[in-house]
């Protein structure tokens, strides 16, 4: 049986990977994947903490995660639409090219 602290370490690592992805990656799709990793870190945390009491799994956390997955899907749908339009305007997925707004 894996203890709760291990799960916590895992979810914090996942969160850090998401932030690393947002900071270093240049491709717009990869940035979107970074956001998804961040949301999944939080979802994973909910699931692991729901079963922290032995013999009981809290249904609240599971319902929260179900709804949260749906929300994440809508965010990525909107993001993909925006990425498609950005590709049409700029002809590239490189986020460094999106630097016309300044000041």
């Amino acid at each position: 049986m894996i203890e709760t602290p291990h799960y916590l370490v895992f979810s914090f690592t996942l969160y850090m990977i998401g932030i690393y992805c947002l900071v270093t990656k240049r491709n717009m799709i990869r940035l979107l994947l970074g956001i998804e990793i961040l949301i999944n870190a939080a979802n994973f945390n909910f699931i692991s903490l729901a079963s922290s009491i032995p013999g009981l799994i809290d249904p609240l956390a599971l319902s929260i995660v179900t709804v949260s997955i749906g929300l994440a899907a809508s965010v990525s749908a909107v993001a993909v639409i925006i990425i498609v339009y950005a590709y049409r305007h700029y002809g590239t997925l490189d986020v460094r090219m999106l630097k016309r707004l300044k000041g």
Partner: protein, 483 residues
Amino acid sequence: MFSPPIDILLIFALTTPLIGWLLERIKKVQLCGVYASIGLMISLWYIYELFGNISSGGAQTFTSFFSSQLRIDMLGIFMATIFVLIGIFASVYSLRYMERDTGVPLFYSLLLLMISGMVGTVFAGDFFTFFVFWEMMCISSYTLVAFRKQRWEPIEAAFKYLIMSSAGSATLLFGMSILYGICGTLNFQGLHMALSNVGSSVWLYVSAIFILIGLGVKSAIVPLHTWLPDAHSAAPSPISAMLSGVVVETGIYAICRVGFTVLTGIEVEWLSVLAILSLVTMFVGNLTPLLQTDLKRLLAYSSIGHIGYMLAGLATGTVLGLTGTLMHIFNHGIMKGAAFLCAGMILYRLETREMKEMAGIGRKMPITAAIFALSLFALTGMPPLNGFISELTIIMATVEANMAWLGIAVIVNSVISAAYYLRTIKALLQPISHKKVEEAKEGPLVMLIPLLIMAALIVVLGIFPDTLINFARSAAIALLGGG
């Protein structure tokens, strides 16, 4: 389902595309704006009814079959009033402003969804309901910023906004999950009870940091503000008025609610962090617009400065300070809304946002320019107008709470802000230099009506602020006393 005001907004949001489809058959698609405005007005009426019930009977709890829990208190009513009010102005204004765009029914549908998301956020009684409505607001605002998708600027701004804001939302969710791990519940009341028994622990600090970062992105507190000027200037003007006037303030509301009900155990720590952040936010928000030549960008930056004032009131942690913050949220919504709508009017006639190219527009559009000047004077904090009252309350609260340095910073910033507001007014009054300005004429009546009402509110709330002060104070007491 979720209390009458939100139900009405959701029903109108879902039926607007249908009505728009029917209206397209008879070539009168603009009329769906009228339909959306009627929906907002009905919703405002229901909020007024709820206000009557709550002021006599205390906070109300709604439990629906989604087991989402809504707990409506005075603070929720206060915030919902300003959201729906600015929403009505923006939607009436859009009747003419959006006439050159396609997909207008979807625009109104998204606008109503954004407002219902905000109203749901302030009515929520547990953290997860709060989060769902919060995401609803965020997702529709991303789409609204990118609404004019045929131009590059909104797309770039919307992408930046989406990445930063949804990273913030994910951080908020992560903080919530830790809070859930500590307490086993996400109900605000339950969290308040559980945390007063548990006391402060390392995990509480960790979750507070995550939650404040998450909320700070949305409310544009300084190290996390970089999306704001782009998104607010690239959006269509009525949406800029909504984003700058109320959406950003939803973040401030969330900090108040979470801070004073959940994080009460570590209040001293997070209040002092907010005091420092407020100082930085104020100065950044008021020094950067000095260099701006783009009118909407200037106004967007000045929103950051006003967020700083609101945080200053919040950081005192007293009833007076919160009264000042809430009043400033209300007044800023009206002032900045009016300023953005006037900027939108100039944009509608001249199709430029550069201040040089609109020199002398005050001679051709006198009513718009007069209202614009009035709202800018109110934003500076000039005495008979409403901005003065709320800034004065905030300064008094900081002195009362032995944080006079913060009050002095607010005064210094008001003076700095006068520099760029007056520069803008000067641009309106200069001799005409461009041919376009020569041909411009006063804006259409439908767009002037909301502006005139807002201008009247700016003056009336400045001269007779008692009603607003009492409303804000009862909201502040509901937050601090009722838990």
